[in-house]
């Protein structure tokens, strides 16, 4: 009976550990512009999955890097690099040789210059 309890407790601990890792496995790295209010895809961030193979001197699913054409000529205001459990697992199993991530970003709005004082109309 004691062995059975231990077995059950062991399973529960593993389940909790996996649950914690799964639920909190979204590593994220964020860079903000000092004025971070930007726009994205219909209000949400633009999102792109990217896979790096063999690191800096290797291959990437985006070649030498992704050009954020969504921003047209506006600067980026926020970049988030996220990795979920599956992406983390792939990184671990390949010893870092294959690192898939999800990148979310926003672009600065086209800035309407402040209208001049006086009778603008």
């Amino acid at each position: 009976m004691a062995a059975g309890c231990l077995h059950t407790k062991g399973k529960r601990s593993i389940f909790l550990l996996v649950a914690i890792i799964s639920l909190s496995g979204c590593a994220s790295h964020i860079v903000f512009a000092p004025l971070p209010d930007g726009v994205g895809a219909g209000g949400q961030s633009f999102r792109r999955n990217q896979v790096s193979i063999l690191g800096d001197r290797g291959l990437s699913s985006d070649g030498t890097g992704y050009v954020a054409k969504e921003c047209r000529s506006a600067p980026l205001t926020e970049v988030k690099v996220k990795r979920n459990f599956g992406q983390t697992l792939a990184t671990l199993l390949t010893l870092g040789m294959v690192t898939p991530v999800t990148i979310e970003f926003k672009c600065a709005k086209a800035s309407a210059p402040p209208a001049p004082a006086g009778d603008h109309f």
Partner: protein, 506 residues
Amino acid sequence: MPSPEDALLRFEGPRQWTNFHGTVRTDIAGQWVVENGSASSTMAGMRETAARIQRLIRYAVESGVRLRAMGSRWSFSEVAVVKNGWTLQTDRLNFDFTVGPGSIDPAFAGEREGLRLVQAGCSIAELNRKIESSARPRSLRTSGASNGQTIGGSLGTGIHGSAIDRAGFEGEVLGLQLLTAHSNLWIEHPNFPTLSGDFAARLGATLVRDATLFSAGLVSLGALGVVHAALVQTAPRYLLRSFQRQMSVESVIEAMKRLDFTGVALPKPNQRPYFFQMVVDPAHPNTGYVTVRYQEPCPQDYVTDVALRSGYEAGNDLPGVFSAVLDVVPPLRQAVVSLLLQNRLAPFENKLNTPAETYSYTSSRPGTAGGSIAVPAARLDEALELARQAFVSHANAPAAYACRFTQPSPACLGFTRFDPTCVIDIDGLASTSIIELMEGIRTRFDAAGMPYAQHWGKLHGLTAARVAASHGDRLADWHAARNRLLPTAAERQVFSTDLLQDIGLA
């Protein structure tokens, strides 16, 4: 009718829509994204964009598809979206204009300086930056705790802030442009004519001075058409001297009920606060984390600086992590909330900033939940006792609450309707228990006959009965306005949602 899609009005197909805080996920039939034709603010550009939006509205009517205009997706609740409908993303519509003397009605009785016409997609952050950095700097007299909402979104559900002698943000609006399938209206209150007769024509709009339409449009729930622009009044730029300290609830409760802080041991006892807020950890209900701000003149050469100094200012995903952890380890919940409160509400003295610097950026916080209930400030003690009972019954709910104050809203469906109003904000980490807690509070209020109204844009327990109890004396005006602005059933259906229908507003 052919699709109105063009280079400045793009359609993106079916998808799952998510709000900023990650509390609502809904399948939509598609989203429309509208832009202005130029970066420079022009009235011709305003007319062009308005016409473009109206073509979309007519297309939605003909197609029998519901349409929701949205800005930053700031609302916690589902009020902003419609299942299987279309969304119209307006956050790129950020024209703004100063108003010159030639455009002001001779009968205008307010302050002529600092009137600002703002397009709906301009965020509070953008507006703050522009008006506080202009050659004759101005400030908003009130806004919410953070600056991410758009002007259109702010007028969708109402934002209240806690400037104790001011109504919510909608109280700062003197006129608004409302678009429907066949009407383009500039609406003002007849008792407060603001812009001149030919101004509306320059917007391509018809001037209407009507108390019922104006009052309804100030908090429109997206149910009256698309708000395209608003005229906002501002004050000469000022500073807020802020203090935060722990005080006993007992020492401030009577003052909060009357909004009279005479004799209370506040940092500047001889000056009336401009802003007052108390946050309470339910685990320690006798202690309040009090934030008080005093208004001061701002030197002309002061340079407003709203730039972030650290990523932590913008928030981070820590509450989301805790939320995930706490779902696994419930007994830790309240302890973590207490620690978070002590960390974020540590005492400080004499922080001197402009409003734009004070009410700054908030990053997306997955895993947070928020609800707000407005009660008469004079009955705050009774309301807090009922809330305390609910907290005791839901001791594991990871939440804290805040008391904030405003003058009554001029909007027909403004939830801050009491004179004056205390808004009890319940905020915490998303979990089943906090939802149950919020409902526990509302149920106790119902049973006790406590008058209250719920924030449209936060987590709620809205029902037709509760809406009638909160706003019953104004529902006739609301429907009258809606029927005048949207005269056909097809048009009213376009601006309806299941929620609005369920609660008797559509």
